[in-house]
């Protein structure tokens, strides 16, 4: 297994839970993102401090996916957040 990647929430990021949606705002860049569906669920779990493996397991159960497929979904979401600058490499 290679080294783990550690991500942290961007310090300028604030967010709220709306009906069926998570709204993220980067105060400094004045950008916003709306997360819905699986992305919103993963964001909520991440903010609650769930570990990667637990999220993968819960998502697999929730969506009726294999563990591997669920892992791909989690990885895709994290990658998209990273590309958008919502999360950053953090040590």
């Amino acid at each position: 297994m290679a080294d783990a990647q550690i991500y942290a929430c961007s310090p300028d990021l604030v967010w709220l839970q709306d009906d069926n949606m998570v709204l993220l705002v980067d105060r400094r860049r004045r950008e916003s993102w709306r997360l819905r569906g699986t992305d919103a669920i993963l964001w909520t779990w991440t903010a609650l401090g769930y570990r990667y493996q637990a999220m993968t397991r819960m998502l697999a159960l929730l969506l009726g996916l294999s563990d591997n497929t669920a892992q791909v979904r989690v990885d895709e979401a994290i990658q998209a957040w990273h590309v958008a600058g919502i999360i950053e490499h953090g040590g």
Binding site: T44, Y50, R57, M58
Partner: protein
């Protein structure tokens, strides 16, 4: 409540024969309650009440009506709703109750759920939560209902927080797929982290938070398992929940020591938080509460304290809650039992009641409805019927009580409506007092309600009667 205020005088009475209804039920649902020098005539099924004097009452009892009494009787007999009946037919869960764990992080001094030192209760497996939620949402969809409800109980539900974190989005997803809406409610002690509290405030519709009162009360009654007070954490939670979108209901357990502090507690709740409602419940004695020296409040001080608190709460647009005396509601069962609620315990057993199995078994009751098996609920039809049979129709002591369609005889497990002498039990007395006060107020007779409530003897005359039926008036 739709109500009429009619005060009849003896001189206004003529004679005439009341067109007696052959419907025995109407006679069994027409009550006369002495209130100082008046009688409160109460017809819960038509939602009407009137104040009459003694002469008028006797005329009404004997069916001798004329003049204003005929108008009164006409009003009382009009728009009579059918008496509520137990559910019949197919079991369609009214809501799904999930018990994520029986574990708890507090050691409330009155709690019968207390965990023996260090014993850990298992959490509900997520696969079981998935199966229960999936089965329930399917039932709702098949029933044609557009509304689902999932309630979380404990122990302390957040001691198995992953069950909520999993069940809530799963329910939402399934509801979305089925085109129905879903609401979530949790009963909690509020002793958890800020982030967890924010989640509850944002993701749930209703949070029922147990908070007994200011620090001296809360820390005495509801300490952590290690003995440390919980006041600071729980009030922080109440503050966060106040700011969130969930409706916050505060539930305070009232002891003999706190009964006279209810207005103070209500005022503090309104000043410090934004509750939608405040529920005051009198302590249900347990071996633990007795060992801790906590006693239930006497009925009259409780009722007086509640009524003062209720006025204060209402002035802040906060709903005062004492469900048993809610005269707007007609019911056959006070609680989920008999109302086709499926409460799934951590081991997959489906019960009608969220109390501990040992509690209801000790009272000779079996409230198991079935169990989750092979991703579906296997329900025992006989058990479902037995739960439905636990209703006020089968509570003989309630038969002649004016409050029977409102309190429905109270908790099937812990409440015995009469003491060994046949007198009303403590809870019945306070419920009857509060209900009379509610009826008088809905008649617009707050003045009379105040005068009556201040008079110990008058209140005693009201509540101590073995029968409230008009036909039993002597």
């Amino acid at each position: 409540m739709n109500s009429n205020t009619l005060s009849s005088t003896g001189t206004a009475l003529g004679s005439g024969q009341l067109p007696r209804s052959s419907d025995l039920q109407s006679e069994q649902n027409l009550f006369a309650i002495p209130v100082l020098n008046h009688f409160l005539l109460y017809a819960p099924l038509s939602g009407l009440a009137a104040l009459v004097n003694g002469v008028a009452l006797l005329h009404l009892r004997d069916g001798i009506i004329d003049g204003p009494l005929s108008e009164l009787m006409e009003a009382l007999r009009a728009n009579v709703r059918p008496a509520p009946r137990p559910i019949q037919g197919e079991f369609v869960p009214h809501f799904l109750g999930l018990l994520p764990t029986r574990d708890c992080n507090l050691a409330c001094r009155y709690c019968g759920f207390q965990i023996a030192g260090g014993h850990h209760h298992a959490s509900m497996p997520l696969t079981l939560a998935r199966d229960a939620v999936t089965w329930y949402m399917d039932q709702v969809r098949q029933s044609g209902s557009r509304q689902a409800e999932v309630h979380f109980f404990g122990g302390e539900a957040f001691c198995a927080e992953e069950v909520l974190d999993f069940s809530v989005p799963l329910s939402r997803q399934l509801a979305l797929d089925a085109g129905i809406s879903v609401k979530f409610e949790v009963a909690t002690n509020g002793a958890f982290s800020e982030e967890r509290c924010r989640w509850a405030a944002d993701h749930l519709d209703t949070v029922v938070l147990s908070l007994d009162g200011p620090a001296d009360v809360q820390d005495l009654n509801r300490p952590y398992r290690g003995g440390r007070g919980s006041f600071q954490t729980v009030t922080r939670s109440a503050t966060i929940l106040s700011a969130g979108s969930a409706d916050l209901y505060l539930r305070s357990c009232v002891t003999a020591q706190t009964a006279d502090r209810l207005p103070e507690i209500a005022d503090w709740f309104c000043q410090a938080f934004h509750p939608a409602g405040v529920c005051f419940e009198s302590l249900q004695p347990t071996p633990q509460s007795e060992a801790a020296g906590l006693q239930p409040p006497d009925p009259l001080p409780f009722a007086r304290g509640f009524i003062k608190a209720a006025r204060l709460l209402a002035s802040h647009d906060v709903e005062p809650i004492y469900t048993a005396a809610d005269i707007r509601a007609l019911r056959v069962s006070f609680c989920p039992v008999g109302q086709d609620v499926a409460i799934v315990s951590p081991d997959g057993v489906i019960n009608a009641c969220y109390l501990l199995q040992s509690e209801w078994e000790a009272k000779g009751l079996d409230l198991r409805l079935g169990r989750m098996s092979n991703r579906a609920a296997c329900l025992d039809e006989g058990a479902v019927q037995a739960a439905r049979d636990l209703n006020v129709w089968n509570k003989p002591h309630c038969e002649r009580c004016f409050c029977k369609w409102h309190c429905a005889g109270g908790c099937h497990v812990n409440h015995q409506p009469a003491d060994p002498t046949g007198a009303h039990a403590r809870l019945c007395v306070q419920t009857r007092i509060i209900a009379v006060w509610n009826i008088l107020n809905s008649l617009g007779r707050a003045d009379l309600a105040e005068e009556w409530l201040a008079d110990d003897e008058a209140v005693n005359r009201t509540e101590a009667r073995p029968s409230d039926l008009l036909m039993d008036v002597v």
